[in-house]
């Protein structure tokens, strides 16, 4: 299991290391976590959110956000633009909300339709937790979010995605 994961990560990480000389080699562990996060897959990585104790850097946050919303790697121009914008606004929560708002309004964004969400709410909740938090929801989290969506017919998948993206847990890995 370990060897398979490492092999898969190396396949993903090696091109990044070759392309970019900015990252220091001493943060290998972060690269590994990034590797999990950047990859577009549907497998949980964390058993629980208590494992998340480190904040994402601006570049990590934006790259991961983009990957989560578009299911593809962020183009370098967009990463540079959005990193600058995040630095250019003092209230980072506000900056994140603006950035997220800009991205979710992009026609290329990959968000389920309202019909898809409500047709299979359990699957939507689980997929959303895995997509944004890289973990499965607890039973209580599953119940809470499902209840919140069911009780508000105006709640859209976009609203849920924005809420996940601006949540505190999403800022950590």
């Amino acid at each position: 299991m370990f060897d398979i994961k490492i092999t898969r990560l190396l396949i993903f990480i090696l091109p990044l290391l070759i392309i970019s000389c900015k990252k220091e080699t001493r943060i290998i562990r972060e690269e590994v976590i990034d590797g999990y996060i950047y990859t577009v897959n549907s497998e949980p990585v964390y058993q629980s959110n208590v494992e998340k104790t480190k904040q994402k850097t601006t570049e990590q946050f934006i790259s991961i956000l983009y990957a989560n919303l578009f299911q593809t790697t962020i183009p370098q121009t967009d990463l540079t633009d959005l990193s600058l914008i995040r630095n250019a606004i003092g209230d980072k929560q506000m900056a994140d909300e603006l950035i997220i708002s800009g991205l979710v309004n992009n026609p290329e964004v990959n968000i389920p339709t309202n019909q898809q969400m409500r047709d299979n709410l359990d699957a939507f909740v689980e997929d959303t937790y895995i997509r944004f938090y890289l973990r499965l929801p607890t039973a209580y989290e599953r119940y809470e979010l499902r209840d919140e969506i069911e009780s508000d017919l105006d709640m859209t998948p976009q609203d849920v995605y924005v809420a996940f993206a601006i949540s505190n847990e999403y800022k950590f890995y």
Partner: protein
Amino acid sequence: MNRRDFLKKASIATSGIISAPYILPTGRLFAPTGQRLVNHVVFVLFAGGVRNQEAVDQQFLANQGLTTEGNIMNNMLAGAAPTNYTSLYNPLNPVLSQPLQNSGTLFKEVIYSQGPTGHYNGHTVALTGNYTETGLNLAINPEFPTIFEYYRKHNGLDQTALDAWWISESLGPYPSLNYSRHPNYGAGFGANYLHPQTVFGEEGVRQLSSITDYHPEEVARINRVKQLLDNNFNNSGEAIPGIQNTGDNREWIKEFLTNTLNGFENQSLDIAVPGNNYFGLNGDLATISTAWQVLDQFAPELTVVSTFNVDACHNNFSYYLNALHRADYGVGWLWDKIQSHPTMANDTILIAMPEHGRNLESNTLTDANGLRAYDHTGDDNSRRCFTLIAGPQGVVNQGQVLGSIGNPAAETIDIVPTIAYALGFDDQISGSLMQGRVLEEAFV
């Protein structure tokens, strides 16, 4: 009643009902007793490194071996403009009917007495009131509290980050100056920071133009889910960094930012360029124009805005003159706008000061006009600055000029205590935190 008034009054009324008498966040029972001179201070950090020779000394090209002198800062300073070589800086008609100097006190000679004359050092000195060490780390917030933190911590109950703004021409390390890492102050008392050229420039246009304002009900839905998610995440590691606006203020500022972005895009905003010609915007004037939008919208009590384009003087003296002239225009324009504002007019003190000067001797570079360039490497001349403090009659001494070469009337560390004095909380700050003094001689 506008939204700002409503929110302020509502929150004050609510807090009064729930918890009177209220112990302030500072641990004091009552707001400071210091007498305010005005309710608004705008500090223009006239930065990038300005030589006194071309500014207050009005020597124009005299140091280039040409026998022509004159005042190229005709909004801020009194004095006749040059009569020759004016095409070098493309003169603009002044905005103000009389120079700002006549509406205040000019400290013609101000010294930056210690530490490297680097831009970030100079900014840090001006905003913390403390000289900096040689090994200043550009990547982290300053050691000593900033004027924003003093203001928010010592000014009573209702000062939020909406009341304090730091708007800079350059990005780089400057976002770090909206709060310090001092254990008794920090992000909780910091200012809103904004770099207009990114948010409203190419990056903002590319990435933020598609933003739509959320309906309040949608905001409520999103926040409900966010709250649900946050309740299940007990982070025991690092705290979320940076300043935080209140929920209402955050929505208000987001709306302001999207409207301002649209205004720049469709060229509908009032800008600090004659004829509202958007092609005439440089970085300094875009920054000053944005500062006005912030002032007009939020009427903050403390605003610091920086210019920086004169730093071209490292290799282009002609552009330096041009940028200096335009930065002066921007300051005049801003003052003129403030005097048109319903609450800020006659209730605002404007302070303008470079972060440091530039060398006496030129470097080896010349520009296309054969004019020599100047760095700022810490010689005595690069420690020479000036400060202009303008404000209402009866508050600020009008038309006063203090200091002369070799006889500085102030130091750059004096601005922080002076702003604290103007806003009535200087006596609340521990003397051990600030090296400077209040420039009381500027005030009636």
